[in-house]
Symmetry: D2
Subunit: 136 residues, 4 copies
């Protein structure tokens, strides 16, 4: 798996008093695509009682156009880079083939220690084997 | 402890395209007051690694007036009833002494079992001792 | 139209540190079903520049079981009562035919006045004609 | 005005099943600081019936450490750059002088046209006069 696409509709509670989707929601849309990509790969990013986790290292969006209540839009997430410990995604939101927003997100593989600190570890081989960098 | 009051300002991300606070936020305002009440009582409602939890049994609001971006309002939470296993709160939101919304919420004490099922248990004595029903 | 059903998956950002869906989300699930019901009836509950609105008068949930990350569940919304000025919905959330939560919500038809006050009005005939009370 | 600092506590509904604040909330924390900065400058970023608006052009965060339920943390927002049409903020979240996250956000001044399109305009002089770039 190297990419995932889905279509989604803007919910009322995602809008704000300016009449458009609040920008914090775009990061959630990107994450929805990420988790769906993992399910497509036969994985859950957060299995119950797992010792490893995937905290976000960075996340960014450039916003080109607004989305409004009940708009339908497409989310396209692809794997832009994989290292031994991190995955970087690129994300594009479009509406009728018009660019709405372009995002990026990097996640790291960590082990949860008993003191609740997170220790960076290599991505387990059985997970790394399910993903590959998207060739454009 | 039998009650808690605080003042809060409406954040931009709590509003919706109708120009008012989305109704789902009122339940979060009520919960903010609950957790502050517990802190005032020297407790956390969710200590790290606790075996007991406090799921919501029911929650309701009657909405009288709208709140808008940057409005300041008061939240008043009080304990309306305590049984061996449950606490019922009543909540009033006001703005300049005008009633905005009236809520209620009941929580139950549960033990988290290894199979992730939740088992109703008596409220531990050291917690019950910190709270009492509010006399109006 | 008198009812609407849909299936939905729990998103990561809907969960909380207790490991379950935060209760405030159930009200949003209920609203998602409401707006989908209106779309099925050929309407939008919030058309651009409309002079009328549908504030929530009351909303409540009884919570029976928890939902967790990536759980799939069913939302069933039905119109329980219609008066000249209000609509009352009943809502049931189920997972594998097990009851998760039971909700209710009442909305009122209002006209937005220039002073931003909301004035209760009769539901326009062309809207009322699209809906009917659900016969169980 | 060139900067704003405030202290905030993590709310329960801001956490997720991984036990930490969901990353989407950091963008809201940054926005809370922005709107408080504007209030300190005697302005509202969204006055009722204003013809101008301030959509986000881009927003990013690097995440260094996790925040957990009831943690107190500091948000420091400063104006990093101002042009005739845009403001760029830098944001630092700290807990006990430990860096939690570093963010940036650029906003643009727009006029809302009757067709709902947003037209980039110069920042009104009376607004620009209230702010200045922060000297580190």
């Amino acid at each position: 798996m190297s990419e995932y696409r889905f279509t989604r509709r803007v919910q009322f509670y995602e809008t704000d008093v300016a009449g458009i989707v609040h920008f914090s929601w775009f990061y959630r849309y990107m994450e929805e695509a990420e988790h769906a990509l993992w399910r497509e790969a036969g994985l859950s990013i957060h299995p119950h009682d797992s010792e490893i986790g995937w905290p976000r290292v960075s996340a960014s969006f450039d916003f080109h156009r607004a989305l409004r209540f009940e708009d339908e839009f497409d989310v396209w997430l692809r794997i832009a880079e994989m290292t031994s410990r991190r995955i970087r995604y690129a994300c594009l939101l479009e509406q009728d083939h018009t660019r709405i927003a372009s995002g990026a997100m990097t996640i790291a593989c960590v082990r949860k220690r008993p003191d609740r600190k997170l220790e960076a570890i290599d991505i387990p081989a059985e997970i790394a084997a399910r993903f590959e960098v998207h060739r454009t």
